[in-house]
Symmetry: C2
Subunit: 407 residues, 2 copies
Amino acid sequence: MSDFQSNIKGFRVAGVHAGLKKDGVLDMAFVVSDAPCSAAGVFTTNQMKAAPVLVDIEKLTASQTGYRAVVVNTRCANACTGDQGVVNAREMARYAAEKLGCDPVQVLVMSTGVIGTHLPMEKIRHGIDLGSVGLGQDWEAAARGIMTTDTRPKFASTSVALSGGTVTISGISKGAGMIAPNMATMLGVIATDAILAPEAAQSMLASAARHTFNCIVIDGDMSTNDTVLMLANGASGVSVTSPDDLAAFNAALFAVSKSLAQAIVRDGEGVTKFITLNVQGAPDDAAAHQIANAIATSPLVKTAFFGKDANWGRIVAAAGRSGVPIVADRTQLWITAGSDLWLTDDSLHLFENGMPTAYSEATASAIFAEPDVSILLDAGMGGDGKATIWTCDLSYDYVKINGDYRS
Amino acid sequence: MSDFQSNIKGFRVAGVHAGLKKDGVLDMAFVVSDAPCSAAGVFTTNQMKAAPVLVDIEKLTASQTGYRAVVVNTRCANACTGDQGVVNAREMARYAAEKLGCDPVQVLVMSTGVIGTHLPMEKIRHGIDLGSVGLGQDWEAAARGIMTTDTRPKFASTSVALSGGTVTISGISKGAGMIAPNMATMLGVIATDAILAPEAAQSMLASAARHTFNCIVIDGDMSTNDTVLMLANGASGVSVTSPDDLAAFNAALFAVSKSLAQAIVRDGEGVTKFITLNVQGAPDDAAAHQIANAIATSPLVKTAFFGKDANWGRIVAAAGRSGVPIVADRTQLWITAGSDLWLTDDSLHLFENGMPTAYSEATASAIFAEPDVSILLDAGMGGDGKATIWTCDLSYDYVKINGDYRS
């Protein structure tokens, strides 16, 4: 899914160097549809929403049809920029519409980067000039054009056979720091050539985001700018309406979203280890998610991951302070080498009856030496609630990157 | 308050090398009263409570009078140790009582260190043998005897003149990692020679802890072992009963607790900067505390402190995701060089009307270059709620210490 090839119909993309970054590095991205699209969006719940978030929410609240393009800039988040920030976000959409030959209401905008500075509008316009004439099928350039401290472009694409024919879903994302449930500094653009009703697009995107983008944790922070947008242009001529087709499309959208979300964790700032954190035995999924989030955001747990230390004590202690009344004597913990694993024959049982098992330290250390580790915690509360969070370690490099970022 | 001198009457203390740590380092501490004491305790709210926490809670629930001693060991937390852990904690108290010539119910115990290993009872008994015959006025040794990754012993003492005479309050504490509201890996023992009713002792200790020990954040984690105990032996002959005397004692207890709590932050793992984080303009104190805690536990904010970066954007973004519906356009932010400062003539106004002020970067950088910085965030919600949290930066050394701790 990540060779930057897409079979999608009726979309053209671009990544350009507008001059926001130095030395010719790509710093703006464009996803443009030939025909008007149904659009859906999920946004940060941060009270300090950035101007482009406010502008996009306003547009999508007014209408979820007729969209032609998403335009993204990096280097400046256009957040904490007051009324002028909103004026600039609107102008970014207006100028792009002018160059693309559509109406400003048909263009959505995204920004990422430093908070509290105004968009350099000359450079933004220059980037739009370049992007509007450079559209094509270079998804890698588009994926590079939205990177901030990311080290790799993030792209996923899949095609799925439905009753009326084949549709394609292709997406790009960026992340790196400030990633937490509810999509901290995380941008995603997903395009599909399926024919989707706007209501179906919104509910499927929201569901996919809830179980993928909102289940990744790098540092527990949540940004002012997080946005995932989906455009459906119908160029495949294939409608997604029957229950079977909706289920198949939903599964494909989930797969693309999961791939884009996991790529963000794997490329998190300073990340050396990819952790799949599963929780079961909670009264409901929300409680399981709360426990998983307490573990995933614990600096003590994350530094132990970095130190390749099977420090189950920190994991169960973090679960114990999650606010969910887990039962200490019935809590159990297993670890398994590899990602996206629940309980397997190779899982090592570390903790039960309120104390460690007689596990082999050598086996535990070998598992924690792997780059991918899966963890399963049973909260011992006897419920059906379960959750998965994908997270990472906390390394020297995270501190270095974030201690130096603005300067 | 920190030259390790105490005027307290009727208490003797010790710090000994039981052999839990290497090379003669002090690893157990004793606070012993000649006469029976009123006792009060506040404990971790972690569901994974360590055995000594369970044992002390059981004792204090049964009675808050008659206590003679607190015995503390380091190196082993006796947490996640099942039924055997409770047996060992009880035996630690029983053996200390035997050596001190009192009843096991008169002895409280504390443990700190690694989770999931059993107390080495031979060494514990050896330490008790040494401590019971080495009691005196060496508060520095006692303060050293409870240290884990702390680099400095923590002690505070004050005497206060009441209507019936002078009473003294002396305390020791340890912290370092895993410190968060609700007293993560944090131990404190406070002794006073005042005559205190157990109910008054409990309510004053709980109140002091709520505003001091529970207002410090190092990494947002909370341990299985956190405990603050207070013993009042009445050896001064001075009762604390009148409203004026209660208020004066309360203020003195608050001062000792604040000194011990701030010392924990200043000596936090890898700490280079001491931050006083004030929040006002929230609907109530709990909401203000919630906002302050979101800022204080944000890795992005903490790494910016380490990088000496006046990155107000991360501060307001963390406030924005706290769950309190702060008003973006009415939120304001000031920074001031120094600790425990609210708004002064030297405060620099960084943020208002949803955007940065035209502040001087040079002035902001100069303030953030100081080791002590005070921050004031007005949440713009027009309420009387306010809160103060003392916190610190997140440095390379924090990662190093916690990546290596167990191995």
